[in-house]
Symmetry: C2
Subunit: 220 residues, 2 copies
DNA sequence: GTCTATACTTGGATAGAC
DNA sequence: GTCTATCCAAGTATAGAC
C-alpha cells in the first residue's frame, strides 16, 4: 500500500528538506499514537515530538487524520515486509508448530516496538473522525490477506482446512492479535499473552501428531 | 463492582433529582462512547446528549474521566448480570456446543447494543489520560473472571483443561471478543465474526464426539 | 516551496447567580 | 442542587513571512 499511484496524503513538494520533514512527522505520529493514543495524538503533541512547527502538519498532510493514516501506512509497510520474511522462513520447514513459533516471535516484537498499538488506536479512534473508518478498514485488508495466506501455507493439506475456511480463520486470528495487544498494553504485562502462544504451540504439536499424516514434513 | 463501599466517583448528593441527573449523564456518556469513541467523548458532547449543562459533569463526577469510568461500571454491571443468566441456562444443559451457542447469542446482543464498544474505547483511550489505565484494568477483572468460570463449567472433566489452564484461555477469549467487536464495528459488518462462531460450534460438536466420553450429558 | 505567526474554535474546569 | 457565565489551555487551520 501507500504506492505512488494512489497517494492517501497530499504531498506538496519532493525536495530533500520536505521529505525529511514529512519523515520526522510520520515518526513522531507513530510514537505519539503508541504512547498517548489516538485521543492524545493532536497536531501540537505530534509536532512537539518531531521538533517542528504544528502548522507543517497541515501543509504537508492537509489534516491530522491524514498524517495518522500516513503513519499507519508506514507501520503496515515495515511490519508486513517483516512478517512475510518470518513466515517464509517458517514455510521452508512446514510444520504447524513452526508457524506458531514464528507468530510468537513476531508478536513479541510487535509488543516491544508497539506497532500493533498504532493499528489498534487507529481502529478505536476512527469513530471519532468522520470518514476515517473506511480508510482504516482499507488499510486493514493487507493484514488479513497476509494472515490468510500464512494460514493456508501452514495448513497444507491438513483436514482442518475443510471445516474452517482460511478467510474466516484469518479474521479471527487478526481479531485475537489485536485483542491480545490491547490487553497486554493496558495491563503492562505480556505474560498471559505469551502463555497462550505456548499453549498454542503445544496444541499444534498435538494436532499434527493426532492427524496421523505428518503433512509433507519428511520432504527436505 | 461499583459498590457503595468503594465509590469510583464522588457523588455529592442523593436527592431524587441529583440521582436522575447522574443517570442521564451516565446514559449519555455510554451513547457518546459508542458513537463517537473516547476521543469524541468530551464534556460538552456528553452534556449535549444528556440535555443538561456541561458543568454538571464536574459537579457530579469531578472530571470527564470519572464519568466515563462510571459509564463503564454501569455497562459492566448490566452485561455481567446478563451473561451470568445466559451461562446458567447453558450450564443446565452442559454440552460444549450449548456454551458456544450461548456465547454467540450474547455476542450478537453486544454488537447490537454496542456494550463492548464502550469497553474497547475505554481501553484504547486509557493511554491518553494518565492514571486511567489502572482503573480500566481493574474493571476488566470481572470480565475475565466470569469467562474463566464459564470455561471451567463448559469443560467439566474434558481432557483439554489439562493442557490449557482456564485462566489463560479466558484471557484469550476476552481478547478475541474485544478484537471481534473492534473489527465488526470498524467494517460495519458482523458476518465474518458470526461465521467464526458457527465454525466454533461445529468444532465443539466434533471435539465432544471425538473425546469418546460424552461428558455428563446423559444426566438430566 | 517551505515554514512561522496568528486567528479562531473547542474543551476542561470553576465561580457565582438562581 | 442546578445552571449561566467565564477563564484559560489546547485544538485545528490558514494567512502571510521568508
Amino acid at each position: 500500500m501507500a504506492k505512488a499511484g494512489t497517494p492517501s496524503t497530499v504531498t506538496p513538494g519532493g525536495s530533500a528538506r520536505a521529505v525529511e520533514t514529512r519523515r520526522l512527522l510520520v515518526e513522531a505520529a507513530i510514537t505519539t499514537l503508541k504512547e498517548d493514543g489516538y485521543a492524545g495524538a493532536s497536531a501540537r503533541a505530534i509536532a512537539a515530538r518531531a521538533g517542528s512547527n504544528q502548522g507543517l502538519i497541515f501543509y504537508h498532510f492537509g489534516s491530522v487524520a491524514n498524517l495518522l493514516l500516513a503513519a499507519l501506512d508506514a507501520v503496515s509497510d515495515v511490519r508486513l515486509a517483516h512478517y512475510g520474511a518470518a513466515v517464509e522462513r517458517a514455510g521452508s520447514v512446514g510444520s504447524l508448530g513452526d508457524f506458531v513459533d514464528a507468530a510468537r516471535a513476531i508478536f513479541q516484537e510487535d509488543l516491544d516496538a508497539g506497532y500493533v498499538t498504532v493499528l489498534v488506536e487507529m481502529i478505536a479512534g476512527a469513530s471519532a473522525t468522520p470518514g476515517l473508518g473506511v480508510e482504516v478498514a482499507a488499510r486493514l485488508g493487507p493484514w488479513t490477506d497476509f494472515t490468510r495466506q500464512a494460514i493456508e501455507q501452514a495448513w497444507g493439506d491438513a483436514p482442518l482446512g475443510a471445516v474452517v475456511p482460511a478467510t474466516d480463520l484469518a479474521y479471527g486470528v487478526v481479531a485475537l492479535y489485536l485483542g491480545l495487544e490491547m490487553l497486554s498494553h493496558l495491563e503492562g504485562d505480556r505474560a498471559p499473552a505469551m502463555a497462550l502462544f505456548s499453549h498454542a504451540a503445544q496444541l499444534a504439536g498435538l494436532l499434527s501428531a493426532l492427524s496421523g499424516v505428518q503433512s509433507r514434513k519428511d520432504v527436505p
